[in-house]
Symmetry: C2
Subunit: 420 residues, 2 copies
């Protein structure tokens, strides 16, 4: 029996370990570089309920195509996940598909499971074939090294193995006390969407030892991603290989699904923040929060438009209190609101209301505004006001937010100077 | 009587003069800097049919609000246009509106015309009030200096006076032989949308001495802008002050409207190209052409997505033949097409077809591809192929294109280093 304790006390930050029922191994196959782990295997010896969100890009990579099919054929179950860096295996045609299938077959044979119980993804340069001759001999050796880790090993080796341009491993973990059960939710991620040409893609793996059915896990995963990975942007480009996987081993028992959802959301939000703050050329992050919108979609659209504006993002990099760019970006978001209803605060300081800039005569106030634009993290809040013409009550107003980072010369340099 | 001669022979490039019925004066009012012309007046002493396209930004500047109203009240007629740089007069509330109105009143009094015959726009920093105390005394003096120029003076002084961060004046002109009439279409523009925080906005003024009614001029202007200004991007940000004005004095007589439309389109396309190639930090331009789309809107959406992708734009800056980014951007444009139908050529070289990269084994071919990515102008062409499933005939396929430029460290530096 599980008593639902209040969310704040029930969900707690945990050590960076996998939940029970998950074990990992990594290996170096010299896919792009010598001597660095570029293959990572997550094994679920007792099986797991599985869910995933894949890129909606038309040029979804070959491994995405296979994983999507396997997840459907297995009705949301999996025994292993194979990831590689150094090559995206995207835009590679039938040969790319055959190569990804061969990797999956090798894992299935080595672990003694069905092919459709193996999921797979790749990250790296687009339009280049996988060097199967170097990968194939390594897979069985890696599978043989899978330890017996029913208690869950450390997250870090796996998190490190999937790092590409990331400067630090991205990990997060929570435990939930559900009656007598202690449930763990852990996650790892690799760095932000298409920051570097040869190291594209964000990939995240979330895992729990709670017992949950496939439909519930899918719902929990989508809600968590919606609050996190779907609300961040580095450069607006969506990779051919973007994916978030979720697995539940069930070894720790049942858990209240609202608490489980909260833990997934918190872990996903941690990872999303880490991705933004570890983007190539990162100097400053910004969060744009939009309140009092007519619909939540409106709030999100304005928040994303402001957070993605190159002019806002360069101003943030420069620590420039050029708030006119924020207003201008909000005004072109394609969302209907009255200009006179909008209020803008940055770092809690009111800058614009009733169609006019707020008086900037006091030097102390000007310094406070400059300081608000000059932190490592800049908080922008826009209220779109009540739409009185539509008779909308304040209680019906909606809010949402979006996370991004300043656009830096370093970002441009890294992305322009690459030569293949 | 006007005989319609074949378009290519009838529409000819012309010297950079205004058509008959247009005269200009410029003045320095120290709006932002001392000693530089920051006011520009276009006078049409015999009156002109007028049309305009204004920004759709919710925070449209005060002068835009006035011009929009005047154009409506006058049913598409105008006698003067006043432009200023150094201050956008946007997000300035009731006081900003009163200031813009005061400028208009001064022009109307000085020229002896109705207020609603005067149009106005501003460009510069957002959220700052116009220094009316410095502008007001200058306007009557400037109006008094308007020369008698029934034959049309040079474009250059006006084009220079509206320059902000532009490095060169942007002008274009065409003449049309229509029977016995020689019609002129001339245009000027100022630099590309929100490149610099304190010098935002693109403004263009197109003028002809053809006789044309307001509805026809409006239609011709919209078609010309659709083919030019609506198909370029520097940073994706839309200013609070973007505007394109068109005027027709009628002094040169009637003209075939198709020829007139062609001349407007050619002038507008010249100016749009100049805007892209004179953006801050400009190094390389790119044109993305999409063919064989199911609809023209689909073609435009894919073209704009690819041309606006930060990863494509940084690759172009680096001269990097990283074509995977082009495919990935096309695949996330939100347009339905089959991955296997897409072909990609850059500089006429086929890089991707039938879901696979085209063989890159020959060093000569690799060098040719590198050269195609390394020019001052890069031509990208994507064919989305025929959608056989919908039974669409080749003749029903559509194409469109979009113009942009490489994203450079200089662009970021200029936009980040500004301090107000």
């Amino acid at each position: 029996m599980s008593a639902v304790i209040s969310a704040t006390s029930a969900v707690q930050t945990a050590a960076f370990n996998w939940p029970r029922g998950f074990c990992t191994a990594v290996a170096a196959a010299a896919i792009k570089k010598q001597g660095r782990a570029d293959l990572a295997l997550l094994s679920m010896p007792t099986g797991a309920v599985a869910a995933a969100i894949f890129t909606r890009n038309i040029f979804a990579a070959a491994p995405i195509e296979i994983s999507r099919r396997h997840l459907k054929e297995s009705r949301g179950h999996a025994t292993a996940l194979l990831l590689n860096s150094g090559c995206a295996n995207a835009a590679t045609g039938p040969r790319g598909l055959a190569n990804a299938q061969e990797c999956v077959d090798l894992v299935a044979r080595s672990l003694g499971c069905a092919c459709e119980a193996v999921l797979v993804n790749s990250t790296g340069v687009i339009g280049v074939q996988l060097p199967l001759e170097r990968i194939a001999p390594v897979i069985p050796l890696m599978c043989a090294r899978i330890p017996d880790c029913a208690d869950g090993g450390e997250l870090e080796p796996f998190a490190r193995a999937i790092m590409t341009t990331d400067t630090m491993p991205k990990m997060s973990s929570r435990t939930i006390q559900c009656g007598d059960c202690v449930i763990r939710v852990s996650g790892v991620a690799k760095g932000a969407g298409m920051i570097r040409p040869d190291m594209a893609t964000m990939i995240s793996v979330l895992a729990t030892d709670a017992a949950v059915d496939a439909a519930t896990l899918d719902r929990i995963l989508r809600a968590a991603a919606d609050a996190s990975f779907h609300r961040i942007s580095i450069d607006g480009d969506t990779s051919t290989n973007d994916s978030v996987f979720a697995f539940a081993s069930g070894l720790a028992g049942n858990c209240d699904s609202a608490l489980l959802a909260q833990a997934f959301r918190e872990v996903a939000c941690d990872l999303a923040r880490m991705i933004v703050c570890d983007g190539e050329g990162f100097e400053r992050s910004l969060r744009v929060r939009v309140t009092n919108a007519a619909t939540r979609a409106d709030a999100l659209k304005v928040a994303e438009t402001v957070a993605s504006s190159l002019l806002v993002r360069t101003a943030i990099t420069g620590g420039d209190p050029n708030w006119g760019r924020i207003i201008a970006a909000a005004g072109r978001a394609g969302v209907a609101f009255r200009a006179s209803d909008l209020t803008l605060t940055v770092g809690g300081i009111l800058l614009f209301a009733n169609s006019e800039p707020i008086n900037m005569d006091s030097p102390a106030r000007i310094n406070a505004v400059r300081a608000a634009f000059n932190g490592t993290h800049v908080e922008i809040e826009l209220s779109l006001g009540a739409d009185m013409s539509a008779g909308t009550a304040a209680a019906e107003m909606h809010s949402d937010e979006f996370l991004s980072c300043g656009l830096t010369t370093e970002y441009v340099r890294l992305n322009a100077d690459y030569t293949s």
